[in-house]
């Protein structure tokens, strides 16, 4: 029997990221948190400081999860203000909610697609929220303060049939934190520190 020195090609490595999502790392995290549910308790924090009038700035840096404190790679900031009664420091708080929904849904689309092995080239999301401002202005107590409705349009381009791409959005909403925050009641407790 003769042996040959064959140049065996190494097994193709699973890409570390698909659509930029670290799929194996994600699966590893899911497995870890399944076995250790106490590690799944997270807390996020935003610290907001008044600038002037209706203008403020929030800083988001520290967060808690997987049993310990963390900080983001940088101190992220976001400013908000009122469009007609403010001084132009930023968009309205409610637009941040629309951004949050878009961001959460899109992140979910990318992740779900990665899990399903669907390569994406584009996810464009437009979120529109309708609001009758007589609520916040105290003009009519029967008008709610918040959005009366929110509409989302997601435009996805990727390596799969149209139905499969559309299905990504439905799946993303099903597991979206912000979608849940907006559509289901969430307890908010407001206190003051004196």
């Amino acid at each position: 029997m003769t042996t040959t020195t064959d140049t065996t090609t190494p097994a193709p490595t699973v890409p570390a990221e698909f659509n930029g999502v670290p799929v194996e790392k994600l699966r590893g995290t899911i497995a870890k948190l399944t076995d250790n549910p106490e590690l799944a308790a997270f807390q996020f924090t935003a610290r907001n400081e008044w600038i002037e009038g209706t203008g403020t700035e929030s800083t988001m840096h520290e967060w808690y999860g997987v049993g310990t404190d963390h900080v983001h790679v940088e101190e992220f900031t976001a400013k908000a203000d009122h469009p007609t009664l403010g001084h132009g420091h930023g968009p309205t708080p409610q637009e941040y909610v629309l951004h949050a929904l878009a961001a959460c849904l899109a992140a979910g689309v990318a992740t779900t697609a990665a899990n399903r092995g669907i390569a994406l080239s584009r996810i464009d999301t437009v979120v529109r929220g309708r609001i009758d401002v007589r609520g916040v202005l105290g003009i009519d107590p029967d008008v709610r303060n918040g959005f009366s409705s929110i509409e989302v349009e997601v435009d996805i381009d990727g390596d799969a049939p149209r139905e499969a791409l559309d299905a990504l959005v439905t799946a993303s909403a099903k597991r979206s934190a912000v979608f849940d925050i907006i559509t289901a009641p969430t307890t908010v407790v407001i206190g003051t520190t004196s």
């Binding site: 099903k174 979608f179 009641p185």
Partner: protein
């Protein structure tokens, strides 16, 4: 003190099927039943209830439906009659009015303590089903006192409820059927809808269960599923068994006059809050239905059935008006919690259960050698909790059990 080889707990279809399979192998056993045979079918079903599977799918080991309406859907009373007949035919050794208080491991065997005495056995089969204890959400405690609350197992007929508006929570089979019945009886009904599984009653001229059986979906095995946990938690199918073979989906319920709202999410004072996710759940159900019908069409094409069948088609999308997210509870008289069931095994040792109280098992083989469970959703195959599924499961588990007994015997000698 009574000693036998196998103790079966529960004399519904699962317990009886297991009894028959053991008898076929000449394995001694006893079947314990807290009430009468087919107890749940007698005492925990509403008056008009019919199976949502066609009669020809009522197949148990050595006994099947032989009536003159194979494509029809049996009433609960007819199921009782069928199971009574089965029990007699197989001469199942049953102790009725016997409640199990505990099952303890003793050496390599078990001691089952009941209200009528103690039984020692080499093996135990839990066949109590998955529909004994309703799961009522914590929200129930926040409802105003004037509201009459009940679960489907306590519901009998529209006349048994008070006059006013009824909120049915949960749009799976029970919730959809009850909302439908109440509405047809002229009641004012609101149905709160979360995750649900939409199906047409018939497709291309054939019963949807015929399709699921033929295509092999009902026989999908637990160890072949990518996400068995999710598959076991699937809501029950939004179907009804009626002579007209009508479809019971949200479009139909809406047309009939049922008000649809999203998932019941909270109570604030006397206001009920419903999730704004309703449309997304409808889309998800429609997508899932589309995938199933695609699978059926592919099967039909591959097996040359297209010529005999009606053409493929797709049901209309679920289209309902924008649902309100709040409801005044002062206007609601009755709430029916069609929100499923929870495991309830106070008579089993703690280490046999997981952190959610579910029995730990591998395809029905429990973690303690000699113990088995039958009839749980997708325990071994997708139809494990259906009438038609207990037979095949019982046969396979008896094989395992017989080997276990042989192992014990060879160790003893």
């Amino acid at each position: 003190m009574f000693t036998t080889t196998v103790t079966i707990i529960g004399a519904g279809q699962a317990g009886l099927a297991m009894s028959r399979c053991l008898t076929e192998r000449s394995i001694d056993h006893v079947v314990l039943e807290r009430g009468e045979v087919a107890n749940s079918w007698r005492t925990e079903r509403w008056d008009s209830l019919r199976l949502l599977t066609p009669n020809w799918m009522t197949r148990l080991p050595s006994h099947r439906y032989e009536g003159d309406d194979p494509d029809g859907y049996m009433t609960a009373a007819e199921v009782v009659g069928f199971l009574d007949g089965y029990r007699e035919r197989i001469a199942a050794p049953i102790r009725t009015h016997t409640e199990v208080e505990s099952v303890a491991t003793v050496g390599t065997g078990f001691r089952t303590t009941t209200t009528t005495g103690v039984i020692d056995s080499a093996a135990v089969v839990v066949a109590t089903g998955a529909c004994s204890t309703p799961r009522i959400p914590a929200l129930s405690a926040e409802l105003p006192n004037h509201i009459h609350q009940l679960a489907p197992i306590e519901y009998r007929n529209p006349d048994a409820l008070g006059e006013g508006r009824v909120l049915v929570v949960g749009a799976s089979a029970s919730g959809a059927q009850i909302a439908d019945e109440l509405c047809r009886h002229g009641r004012d009904v609101v149905l709160a809808v979360g995750d649900h599984v939409r199906l047409p009653r018939t497709y291309r001229g054939m019963d949807i269960h015929w399709w699921m059986d033929t295509v092999g979906i009902l026989d999908e095995r637990y160890d072949e599923m990518e996400d068995i946990v999710r598959a076991r938690r699937l809501p029950s199918l939004q179907l009804i068994g009626t002579p007209e073979k009508r479809t019971l989906d949200l479009n139909a319920l809406h047309s009939a006059g049922v008000d649809l709202v999203g998932r019941f999410a909270g109570v604030s004072g006397s206001t009920a809050q419903f999730s704004g996710s309703f449309a997304n759940f409808c889309d998800a159900a429609d997508l899932k239905l589309g995938r199933l019908l695609d699978t059926i069409d592919e099967y039909a094409a591959e097996h040359g059935l297209d010529a005999e069948l009606a053409a493929p088609e797709r049901p209309d999308r679920t289209v309902v008006p924008v649902a309100p997210t709040t409801l005044d509870l002062d206007g609601i008289d009755t709430v029916i919690w069609a929100t499923g069931f929870r495991p309830d095994y106070p008579w089993l040792e703690d280490d046999l259960l997981d952190r959610k109280g579910q029995i730990v098992h591998d395809g029905g083989v429990m973690s303690r050698p000699g113990m088995y469970v039958l009839g749980l959703p997708f325990a071994r195959r997708r139809k494990s909790s259906f009438l038609d599924g207990v037979g095949p499961d019982a046969r396979e588990l008896v094989d395992h059990l017989a080997e276990h007994l042989a192992t014990l015997a060879s160790r003893a000698s």
